[in-house]
């Protein structure tokens, strides 16, 4: 534990108000949020403040199936975009499942997200285990030929990693990038989750062992991942907020392990995508299911930079 946690400001969990949504150990025996059958008929329910000058983006993961749920999520994203006005999408990997022929790119990416692409929304992809390495050359994924890269939006710097192949070159790059970043918010995203209550994969402990010391040292704020085909939000670890969005196309129904001590909220009965808005020291999030139902939302406070590195520097 670092001194950062002394400054921890409790998260306002709107999710805790939702029926059946797991929000912590006290609710460990409660049910997960069940999908409402009438959710699709409800009007748009935006939980974000939509502040002027804020950074707004969507998050999808494990989406590239080409099947109808992916299309329905994409349609829901477009509906929200019209109100929320997000201008880019962070992709958690498994962008294109199965074959990677031109018709696959069309059916699994270009067609479902056409309204978003036509509106000028940019997609920033990372590679999952089902992705072809040469997706880095596919312009709409904005990877510029790189397996790992960084981009900045306002006060937020994103570090997009290739968790399929975390070698010394990439670890050196991450450390160099994070140490040189003066961004207010530092967000990393990659395919394999460091924390997960999914039964199918579980957390990648080896990856966690390599990355967490670097993330802690340089004050990373948020980590987003996919791979596990559920939605999960975790209690902060070492002042870092973790989200798992691996069900924007694929789904492993009822795959979350009950009784978890690390879970803040979970949803495993339908596909979802996330909306995030960052303004000042606050991050607002809203997770929306295929039917339009909000399954999790809340506000997170940016944690102060770790004291450890500043003391060490003196």
């Amino acid at each position: 534990m670092t001194l950062r946690l002394l400054f921890f400001i409790p998260v306002v969990f709107v999710a805790s108000l939702l029926p059946g949504c797991r929000t912590g150990p006290a609710a460990a025996s409660s049910r997960f949020l069940q999908q409402s059958t009438s959710g699709g008929e409800s009007k748009l329910d935006v939980k974000l403040p939509l502040e002027k000058g804020s950074v707004r983006f969507a998050v999808i993961g494990d989406n590239g199936t080409g099947d109808s749920p992916e299309y329905e999520i994409a349609q829901e994203m477009e509906t929200y975009r019209k109100t929320v006005g997000f201008d880019f999408v962070a992709m958690m990997g498994d962008n294109i499942y199965g074959g990677h022929k031109p018709k696959d790119f069309e059916r699994k990416f270009e067609e479902p997200y056409k309204p978003l692409l036509d509106s000028g929304v940019k997609f920033y992809a990372c590679l999952g285990n089902h992705d072809d390495s040469n997706e880095v050359l596919y312009k709409p994924f904005n990877m510029n030929g790189q397996h790992y890269y960084s981009f900045k939006k306002g006060d937020v710097q994103f570090f997009v990693l290739d968790s399929n192949y975390m070698d010394s070159a990439q670890l050196d790059w991450i450390e160099q990038q994070l140490s040189g970043s003066n961004a207010k918010w530092k967000i990393a995203y990659f395919h394999h989750p460091l924390y997960s209550d999914g039964r199918f994969h579980g957390p990648d402990l080896d990856l966690r062992k390599q990355l967490m010391p670097i993330f802690e040292k340089y004050g990373l704020n948020v980590v987003l991942s996919g791979h596990e085909h559920v939605y999960e939000r975790f209690k902060p670890e070492e002042g870092i907020y973790f989200f798992l969005v691996g069900n924007s196309g694929e789904l492993r129904y009822h795959n979350l392990r009950p009784g978890s001590d690390i879970m803040a909220a979970g949803f495993d009965t339908d596909r979802t995508f996330m909306l995030i808005e960052i303004s000042g020291d606050k991050l607002y999030f809203q997770t929306i299911a295929r039917t339009g139902q909000t399954v999790d939302s809340g506000t997170l406070q940016r944690q102060p930079k770790p004291q450890v590195s500043s003391q060490a520097a003196q």
């Binding site: 390495s133 596919y138 010394s168 994969h201 080896d206 990856l207 390599q210």
Partner: protein
Amino acid sequence: MLISESHAVKRNIKRSDHKIAVAFALLLAIACSLAQSTPKPGINRDALIGTDFDKRVADYMKLHQQALTGLKVPQTTDSAQITAFQHQFAAKIRARRPNARQGEIFTSEVADWFHRLIAQVMTGTDGAKIRASFEHAEPIRGIHLDVNQSYPDGLPLQSMPPSLLLNLPRLPKGLEYRFVGRELVLRDIPANLIVDAIPDVTASNTK
């Protein structure tokens, strides 16, 4: 009787001499063999193997660069161009090493060394965690890929345990290690081509 006894003693002495000579010859042979297989003081045998591996990899990368000459790496919205580039690149590499066989880069010495490096990690303190991560990462089973074969379209790539990668020799950009079934393969990333493979790596070290 005395004479015959004397002959018997001499025969015994001759037999003993013979045995000593055979034993000496054996010892000499073992000593020579050890002298040949044991590196001279100050020379790390693994470092020599590593240097040899690096040289073979560098030679391959020269060929890779030559094959790339004349090809334009696309950055495009047209995925067909990407596929075409990949196929052309692979074809040019194959044409430059048409008789490439398993073991040209992963020689038997290099393969033995890799077995040891992998075993070090897999049987180390974090071995259980690494094996668990490996098993949870949808391992690719029941498949064998030949040198110069393309990695099959649609087949997921097995993610590599970071601790293991950190214990293996660093590769130049454009090459990577991957587990495929029971093999550790060396893959040319942009050409999507199997460059070499070590058989029975995962089988011996991850169970």
